[in-house]
Amino acid sequence: MPGFSVNRLIFRSIISCLFVFAFTFFAFAANLPEDAPILISQPDSTRALTAGKTRKGLDYSLNVFPAEGKTRITLFVTNIELLKNEGANAFRVDAQDSRYFRYPMRVISLEPLADRPWVYALTVQLHGQMGNVGDVLIRANWRGVASNRVRVSIGYQGGKISDDEGSVPTPMPEKPVVKEQTANLVGLPWTGDRVRFMQQATFGANAALESRLRRITYSTWLNEQMEEKRDANGAIRYSTFPYPVLTLQPTSPATNCGVTCLRDNYSMYPLQNWFFREALYGEDQQLRRRVSWALSQIWVVSGRETIQPSRMLPYLKILDRNAFGNYRDLMREMTLNPAMGNYLDMAISTRQSPNENYAREILQLFSVGLYQLNQDGTVKTDAQGNPFPTYDQNVVNGFTKVFTGWSFCETTAACPNRTVNAVNFIDDLLLNPNNHDTTEKQLLNYPGAVSTIPAGLSGDEDLDRALDNIFYHPNVAPFVSKILIQQLVTSNPTPAYVGRVSAVFNNNGNNVRGDLKAVIRAILLDPEARGNLKTDPDYGHLREPVLLVSNILRPNDATSNANAAGNCNNQSDGVLNGATSALDQDVFNPPSVFNYYPLTYVLQNTDLHAPEFGIFSTGTALKRPNFINQMVFGTGIERSANSPCGTKINITRWQNLAASDATGAGLVDGLNRELLHNSMSPQVRTHIMQAVQAVAPTNTLKRAQTAIYLVTTAPQFQIQR
């Protein structure tokens, strides 16, 4: 056990002050969720038990650390049960000074103590710009749950920072913390975890799904969502509602094509309406729809250039079909899809006039990204901290050659869906060997790669070799896994979480790489995604406009508007793109190949990713509450020429809660449970209660409206945590 001798030394030195408090250990944890990591403090204060490096080894008595970027501090953490391969990269540690500046700290190592394996030494490095700030409060976040905060001095002891309310000493425990199962059992209705699961895996919680999940568990539901569904004719179906029937049109609309004709044949309108109906009511395809929607934000094709919905539909079908398929198949189908070929110019790239566009974007955006990654998604760097590019211009040139010679399928023999007077956007691109560059090609170079294609192979062979070369690049797993986690769960997953999902991407357990079923399952069932309450301050992600709208409509039983025709079937017509495009998310019309918002967007003055904030600004901030006002206090989306059924919500359920409890508590707590998965802070609850109580108790409608408005407009609801 040579590796633990240092730890033993620490432990022996401090053992004298421990036993007195050993029996009081469990009391302090009362303020924290039962699954929260606990940072160990001095026996009689919230000052951290720490160790620092000196020339003689570790010194546990250190409590004032020099304010230098190189300073390392060893803290002690308990109440964690690690998975295999879960280590330092599963933790995020930060320190807050008395001015409320919060500094991320690099996590260096995590090692169990030899004598007390239930306690871990957690070593972190100070942020280079911290300065002599005096006392700071340090917190460790693990799987989205924050620890208690303990005090450490940087530069000098003192400074005005008070302990967190209710915090108590958390001395070194003599034995492992015994988990007491509290009220959060799986079988209870509307647990925080189950509501959050619905928000991650579907377009919003609703009562029917809640009770179903309670009965059959997540795993069974995931199987059910992923299994094949068939339509009345026995054909596999990838949507609940049939795809709109669309016909390829001439590139230029006929002169007699009026407003309605243009809307239905030359805009994304039919697909947008179908999409929102799927989101609202497509119960047996909710997960596929979420994943397909997420993939559409990686493999971006925009209706702004595709124009015709009939041209866009085959692209959307590829996403749907492969949402639970294999990433390699998705790569090939996308590469040969005419809408993609048109959008990124592969369809006009020839040996004689090559075009780099698709080559560059498939590498940068759809597969490997710009920099070499570790399997946990962090960027590999050299000793100076510089990243290693994944490829250079020679590689772009090589892939450009690979993708030459493919164009729209316009021969009678090979193209069953060829349409007279229209470009064939249905059949795969077709190779014209005369236009394909058959010279040698440089591909991605990495250990084990076949990094060149010799001259003289066919266009088909070139394509397969090149896509394999990309697919087997070690970046693909962390690159794709991280984006999918960000889309479904949280903008800033710990490296450990990314690493767990990457491992599944690399091997689903049956030696299959790129199995999206397994990847999605791993993402949604990961401990960092699960749990009743997430207290890590950096957890979660901003609800993009589509999710904001659907996460409000689904729990509130969206229906057609008043006096809608019988064929509306009491359902919304899905004409909701007006709401999301006002929030800068014009569905299927992203402004560029960089999506509605850049997936790499970093929040100002932080090192945090926050992709959806790329379209959240002063300009759109008030349009969110304005949409909610329209749905909650207004008449919803009225019927009109473009919206035959309209959309409104039904809040009778909430009115009943308001009627049954004149204090308003039942109403507010119900909303907290079903919309905020019990994450509402007592302060927010107080403010909402005051506003509810300002309405006469007999006016249950207005009470319900007031509470729903305040919950759904709250910044705490804009962020899905």
Binding site: D94, R99, Y100, F101, R102, G128, M130, D345, S353, P354, N355, E356, N357, R360, Q364, L370, G385, N386, P389, Q393, V396, S491, P537, Y539, P591, S592, F594, P598, V602, L603, Q604, N605, T606, D607, L608, F613, I615, F616, S617, T618, G619, L622, P625, N626, F633, Q683, V684, H687, I688, Q690, A691, A694, V695, T706, L710, T713, A714, P715, Q716, R721
Partner: protein, 471 residues
């Protein structure tokens, strides 16, 4: 180097609420000698300056925007582009003759209004501008000298133009925002943020303390760009409004919640200020860029009421990624550009601020001299250095500016694999860095030399921070 640029997480609780900005600024060392300068210069309404960035998104092919018309230059150009049909016929080019070169050049035929402004010395061309980490020659490039991260990639080159930091793409602040951070004292008492984007969220507008205003373009009236609907004056509505306000101040230890709350609060604050929709003198074209610049002009007209003496605007015209069909595509975009720029200039004249407003272009990169495709489909691919326009009465207009290229003149040699081409397809190595270009504008705006390197961390890698195009 890397560490020094990485801003720590400065947020949480009260740290970013409006009232606490002052203490935060001192933390960043932002309160500076400029405060005194402001006191000296603060002699009335005359002290107004605005910078307007027009971003030509997608990578504008400036090889077809500014073309040599003199015989030797045009011959090279036509040899490189003519056979595939990407060369503009000599007769169609709009003649301009910069004294600095003493040779005839031509503007793209769509730039008729810009030619008029040229003839009045109201705009200048800055040649061969691009992202750089240090001055570099073709030979140095080919032997591996330091160069910007991810050349030829849209997202990265866009970011580098906007951040003026080219050896990394991690900066969360842009040079517009950092310039605003440092010149805030020149704008004391301003009622709205100094930086306004009419084109959505962009890193250009973010500073360490500057959080930009983002509004939508015309035709939305200025007093309707930010409104919160659904509140009257009944007691329960007021109670709801109060609650909403209080909720925005809770849970601010949650990073993303805090950011959403902050931006919402900022929108509410500004919406109270933007209570009018000033009428303009000039009729703007009803186009993407026309409507954005129209909104800029309205905010400028509102400047006195808002007590603004320094403003930075960001507008954007997308569509320049002309891999295909460039002849009609770029032509239409430049027509739109030219018309909108002229209308905007004329409106600043009508407002009496044409000497206080400087409008300039940026773009991802220029495009390969060597065409992509041919004939009706002909376009061009991603390249590097390009030419940019700067407009206003404070500009020493009617001239070309720049630094010597390999041929000794400030205009590159238009030859594939020529002395300025780092590839074989006409990707020219820049001689003017983004920093040099931007710093020249920033100095005019009021940034002092001592703080130049705080806004442009790598400016000292370059020979000058003043290219001389501002009077």
């Amino acid at each position: 180097m890397k560490e020094s640029r990485r801003e720590f997480i400065g947020k949480s609780c009260r740290a970013l609420t409006m009232t606490a900005l002052a203490s935060q600024m001192s933390h960043f060392g932002l309160v500076s000698a400029l405060a005194q300068k402001k006191a000296e210069a603060d002699n009335g309404a005359s002290d107004y300056k605005a910078l307007v960035c027009v971003f030509l998104n997608g990578g504008n092919d400036s090889n077809n925007m500014v073309v040599p018309k003199h015989s030797a230059g045009y011959a090279e150009y036509n040899a490189a582009r003519g056979p595939q049909g990407l060369a503009i016929p000599l007769a169609n080019l709009l003649s301009v003759t910069p004294p600095s070169l003493g040779l005839e050049f031509g503007l793209h035929p769509s730039l008729t209004e810009m030619q008029q402004l040229w003839n009045q010395n109201k705009f200048a061309v800055v040649c061969n501008v691009g992202t750089l980490v240090q001055p570099i020659t073709k030979a140095q490039y080919l032997s591996g000298a330091p160069r910007p991260e991810q050349l030829f990639s849209h997202s990265d080159q866009v970011a580098q133009f906007r951040t003026a930091i080219s050896n990394s793409n991690n900066s969360t602040t842009g040079w517009g925002g950092r310039l605003a951070d440092r010149t805030t004292p020149l704008n004391s008492g301003g009622a709205i943020p100094m930086v306004t984007s009419i084109a959505g969220v962009t890193v250009f507008s973010n500073g360490a303390t500057t959080s930009p205003l983002i509004v939508e373009p015309s035709p939305t009236p200025l007093n309707q760009v930010l409104t919160l609907n659904g509140f009257g004056t009944t007691s329960d509505e007021l109670a709801r409004k109060t609650a909403m306000q209080k909720i925005r101040n809770e849970d601010l230890d949650k990073t993303l919640v805090q950011k959403a709350a902050f931006l919402t609060q900022q929108a509410v604050n500004v919406s109270e200020q933007l209570n009018g929709d000033p009428a303009l003198t000039v009729t703007f074209p009803n186009t993407t860029l026309g409507n954005q610049l129209r909104q800029v002009a309205k905010l400028m007209k509102f400047r006195t009421q808002l007590n603004m003496s320094r403003q930075i605007f960001f507008v954007q015209l997308p569509g320049f990624d002309t891999h295909v069909s460039q002849i009609p595509g770029q032509g239409a975009l430049l027509t739109q550009f030219s018309q909108a720029m002229k209308a905007f200039y004329d409106e600043t004249v009508a407002q009496g601020i044409s000497g206080s407003v400087t409008t300039f272009t940026m773009s991802d990169f220029s495009r390969t001299l060597n065409p992509a495709g041919a004939l009706t489909n002909v376009g061009s691919d991603h390249a590097w250095a390009g030419h940019h326009f700067v407009m206003g009465d404070a500009v020493a207009g009617g001239n070309f500016y720049g630094r010597p290229t390999a041929n000794g003149s400030i205009f590159p040699t238009l030859v594939n694999n020529g002395p300025d081409d780092v590839s074989t397809r006409g990707r020219f190595v820049p001689t003017v860095s983004v920093e040099m270009y931007a710093a020249t504008l920033a100095r005019w705006f009021g940034l002092n030399d001592a703080e130049m390197s705080l806004v442009f961390p790598f400016i000292n890698n370059f020979p000058t921070s003043n290219l001389g195009f501002m009077m």
